[in-house]
Symmetry: C2
Subunit: 178 residues, 2 copies
């Protein structure tokens, strides 16, 4: 797959519909993947994302310390791996090796992209004011990558208790909203 640079102004169109993302983080030789659904856009450009990363997760310390991560958006073909990443801890498991995911070097941050995901968003933590109380991080997206061949990506949307909604058809309306 040949990855294309995506203009930062277009990132909201990918995250706003609420897909599950895989968050990669790294510190020295530690490297991890976390499954996450609690995120929202906060600004169009530069794109800001707010997200909850529980302090019970191994990724919490990595991201809090290094202030870097990558948000990778998987499609339904990867659902088994998405679930596996969510059901295990990086404290015990090297998730890249165990679940056969491929790390690729990022351009602006240390944590790797996940090659199998159709979108990769390189992020820096820019605000930690709500981390102590809510585990809420604000990320700025520094660089965005997309697989231009993926025309109708079937993203997965978590509904709890093992159930995921798969992205259905799209409708074009006369909306003037950005």
């Amino acid at each position: 797959m040949k990855r294309k640079s995506l203009p930062l102004s277009q990132v909201y169109r990918l995250l706003e519909p609420g897909p599950v993302v895989l968050v990669t983080s790294a510190r020295k030789k530690q490297i991890n993947i976390m499954t996450m659904s609690w995120h929202t856009m906060m600004e169009f450009e530069p794109p800001l994302i707010g997200c909850v990363i529980s302090n019970r997760n191994y990724s919490f310390e990595l991201i809090k310390t290094t202030k870097e991560c990558v948000l990778n958006i998987p499609t339904v073909e990867l659902l088994d791996k998405v679930v596996a990443c969510g059901n295990t801890s990086g404290k015990k498991v090297d998730k890249f090796k165990t679940f056969h995911l491929t790390p690729l070097p990022a351009s602006r941050v240390a944590p790797p992209l996940i090659a199998e995901c159709y979108v990769n968003l390189e992020c820096r933590v820019v605000d930690t004011k709500l981390v102590a109380k809510y585990n809420f991080f604000i990320l700025e997206i520094l660089k965005a990558w997309i697989d231009p061949k993926k025309k109708k990506p079937k993203t997965v949307h978590h509904q709890g208790r093992g159930v995921f909604m798969i992205a259905g058809k799209t409708l074009k309306t006369s909306s003037h909203m950005k």
Copy 2:
């Protein structure tokens, strides 16, 4: 439709997949509806929601002042009204009247429920620390209502430029995630 009370512990299952919501707010005789996609769960129970309400919106002042709103989740049958609410300002238009939506009294807050929506979440603003910088409000859900007859709700998920993704089929996995 007979609305059923939904346990607060189940709210995350509705908002986590990223549906567009219609936000109702009210102050004295002013009443408004706003279309919103920038929201995320922040805590399971009591359910906390973080959301961005732009200060360019008429709803911003209403919600900032009264500290109350209702999040109503529409399905695809309402998409035209969702778009209409997003394309107009409550400063000029009474959206309930103009778009033929039905206000119902809420139980815990002043703003009305929208009868046509299959879910209604009555909210109080509990944290405004990030409002000045990011227009970011933290809401606690006080009371949740659902139409128990709506089995496979086709929620709508905004992708920008007039395009909406409609909720597709669901898959059950072996995930142990809550």
